[in-house]
């Protein structure tokens, strides 16, 4: 079985060539890896590759088929890109427009202020919402010029991480 995985800006093709218990052979973009892979704790993999000991953490992301993968010094965002994922991406785009036009809450918090209203024109870089968490206020700005199409929250609301707050077209 072969799949595509998006990691950062790279789209990698990965394939499991062979598996005997924990001994697995993979091919990633033409390079072969003979691995001894064991999930030692939930979501934590101990990998032996050419005698070296690697520890990888894999954390399911907020969206389906999205992962955060941590190695010793790096943190990667990885997406499984299968047919369904491509369809979902297209559907989301149709429903909400380009991701860059949506303001998402990057963290749970409380809406402090919304200095814009539906229908209002905004410039790129203009603050459209201020969210407070842990004694810190964060301002979120429009990524491009546009018109405020939807505001899903109001001042004083508690929001979750990754919730769509405002759509700008």
């Amino acid at each position: 079985m072969a799949l595509e995985v998006r990691i950062g800006k790279r789209l990698a093709k990965v394939q499991l060539l062979n598996r005997e218990g924990d001994r697995m052979k993979f091919e990633v973009d033409g390079r072969t890896y003979d691995l001894d892979m064991v999930e030692v704790e939930p979501g934590i993999w101990s990998i032996l590759y050419r005698g070296k000991s690697f520890n990888l953490e894999i954390i399911p992301g907020s969206k389906p088929k999205n992962y955060t993968v941590n190695t010793l010094f790096q943190s990667y965002e990885a997406d499984i890109v299968d047919a369904e994922a491509k369809y979902m991406e297209a559907r989301d785009k149709a429903a909400f427009g380009e991701a860059s036009n949506r303001i998402l809450s990057p963290m749970p918090g409380k809406v402090v202020r919304i200095p814009v209203a539906i229908g209002q024109e905004v410039k790129a870089g203009e603050t459209v919402i201020i969210v407070s968490a842990m004694k810190m206020e964060s301002e979120f700005k429009a990524a491009a010029d546009g018109v405020v199409r939807e505001i899903f929250v109001k001042e004083g609301d508690t929001v979750d991480g990754n919730q769509v707050l405002i759509v700008i077209e």
């Binding site: 890896y33 939930p42 954390i59 941590n70 190695t71 790096q74 943190s75 918090g109 842990m134 810190m136």
Partner: protein
């Protein structure tokens, strides 16, 4: 003698205070807000009292509720921790009026040191060096201009009632004086309800070095040496160490004497900290006194060998200090890293959420003061500090190496943390050489927020692991039907395996 202590705080400091109480055999009472029912300090305490809604203005900061909780549980003493009510003279006075021991200094000392202008006058009278600047609150624009004329730019405008960087403005160019003055006063009014500000000479490339003080109610005061706190981001400390790599033995001893004189000027008792600003030529000036335990107190505890909370309790009980200045020595080197729930890759945005998995660093020379546990949700209402990692080494190099090792072992998933950022500080050349000042993070920000390069292998292994997790889930789903797939998730599957034969 204190028989039961109410800890009017939450998070790691509440647990830390309760630990020393437990060692002393004194029962503890926790107070908790709505968001904190599951917090560790509630679990750790012997008793717990609910005090209201999550925002601290409606719970941890409400004096009446804290006093009522103490009365209700029969607590005869209150430890305020740091933050919240710890430097509130009104609270300390109220405790006294209610016949409850406030484990901290007198209301007089809190008041005097809490107002920066009064503190400054007191220090000048006590012969402690202060930064050139105003001696009283600025009341007019003309006065401000005149002072800046006299001492020269750069100057810092500061809120008289302030702290934590609020109501502060740096003026480098005389033409910005008036606008900065107005901004500082408006911020001060909003934050503290008091728009009094004062002006000080701004020290370029300063070091922030503070002295730990202990005084008893019999007039004995000692210092427990310095802490170097210059690694700061937006006036918030990130890394602290002791001894300071900057000081010479002569300056260390002289600053210590001035720190004791500063505390003596307000008849100080309890634990407190004298903050100094120090320039590259080792000129030092009194900055302020924190009339409470500091976040970074553990590095002093490690190097001097004194449990500061136990001494606070001893002092509050009317006991004498069990040591004199000559008995105290710094041994080895200690460093503290503050672990915040924040994302250094996204401008240090706060990252509240559920702790999914945690691996704590252990072994020789490592102290870890935290309060979170697996499954705990860090609330969005309070401080983003998760824990404090403190290491000791036989010398500074040994301590830095040990801190690197401890950070390497420390894993938290579920929320973003500053661990990688701290690792890069420990690997930074300027830090390793001990040549840094309060501009350190600002000056090295790019380097400190850039991932270390990894060869292609790391990335390919990440791809493989994501692929494998995905295909494992697919396989599980196809065998059991889609609705069963969550239970076949590898997450915490061993727990499930143990309960699968039940019911």
């Amino acid at each position: 003698m204190i028989r039961k202590v109410l800890v009017a705080n939450r998070g790691e400091i509440a647990v830390r205070v309760m630990r020393s109480c437990r060692e002393l055999g004194i029962p503890t009472v926790a107070v908790y807000s709505e968001a904190d029912r599951k917090a560790m300090h509630v679990r750790y305490a012997d008793e717990a009292v609910f005090i209201g809604p999550s925002p601290s203005q409606e719970s941890y900061l409400v004096i009446d509720k804290i006093i009522a909780a103490a009365k209700q549980t029969g607590a005869d003493a209150i430890h305020p921790g740091y933050g919240f009510l710890s430097e509130n003279a009104g609270f300390a006075q109220r405790c006294a009026d209610e016949g409850i021991i406030f484990i901290g200094p007198s209301p007089y000392a809190i008041n005097t040191m809490g107002d920066k202008i009064t503190a400054r006058k007191t220090m000048i009278a006590a012969g402690v060096p202060v930064v050139p600047g105003t001696e009283s609150a600025i009341t007019s624009d003309e006065e401000a201009l005149a002072i800046i004329e006299r001492i020269g730019v750069p100057v810092m405008i500061k809120a008289s009632a302030g702290g934590g960087g609020k109501g502060m403005r740096l003026v480098k160019d005389p033409k910005d004086v008036l606008s900065s003055l107005r901004a500082a006063r408006s911020e001060a009014r909003a934050a503290f309800g008091d728009d009094a500000v004062y002006i000080e000479k701004y020290i370029n490339s300063p070091h922030h070095i503070e002295y730990q003080i202990l005084g008893d109610q019999h007039g004995n005061i000692v210092h427990l040496f310095e802490r170097e706190c210059s690694v700061q981001r937006r006036h918030q400390k990130v890394v602290e160490e002791t001894p300071s790599p900057l000081l010479t033995p002569e300056v260390r001893a002289e600053m210590g004497r001035h720190a004791v004189a500063a505390a003596a000027a307000v008849n100080y008792y309890g634990a407190g900290t004298i903050e100094f600003i120090v320039d590259e030529q080792l000129n030092y000036y009194f900055l302020e006194m924190n009339t409470r335990l500091q976040v970074e107190h553990p590095i002093t505890e490690r190097v001097v060998g004194v449990d500061l909370v136990k001494q606070q309790i001893n002092i509050a009980n009317g006991g004498k200090l069990p040591f004199r200045q000559d008995d105290l020595v710094q041994r080895g080197h200690a460093i503290e890293c503050r672990i915040y729930a924040e994302d250094p890759d996204r401008n240090f945005m706060p990252s509240p959420g559920v702790i999914r998995h945690i691996t704590e660093p252990l072994g020789l020379g490592v102290r870890h003061d935290g309060y979170v546990y697996e499954g705990y949700e860090i609330p969005m209402y309070y401080d983003p500090m998760i824990s404090k990692l403190v290491v000791w080494g036989s010398d500074r190099d040994d301590a830095i190496r040990r801190m690197r090792r401890a950070l390497y072992e420390y894993k938290i998933t579920g929320v973003k943390t500053s661990i990688k950022f701290l690792e890069r500080i420990m690997e930074n050349k300027a830090f390793a050489e001990g040549s840094y000042n309060t501009h350190f993070i600002e000056e090295h920000l790019e380097e400190l927020t850039t991932s270390r390069e990894c060869d292609r292998t790391c990335e390919d292994l990440a791809v493989i692991t994501a692929f494998l997790d995905h295909t494992n889930r697919l396989a599980a789903a196809s065998v059991k039907g889609p609705e069963a797939s969550p239970k076949d998730s590898p997450w915490k599957s061993f727990g499930r395996r143990n309960s699968i034969n039940r019911l």
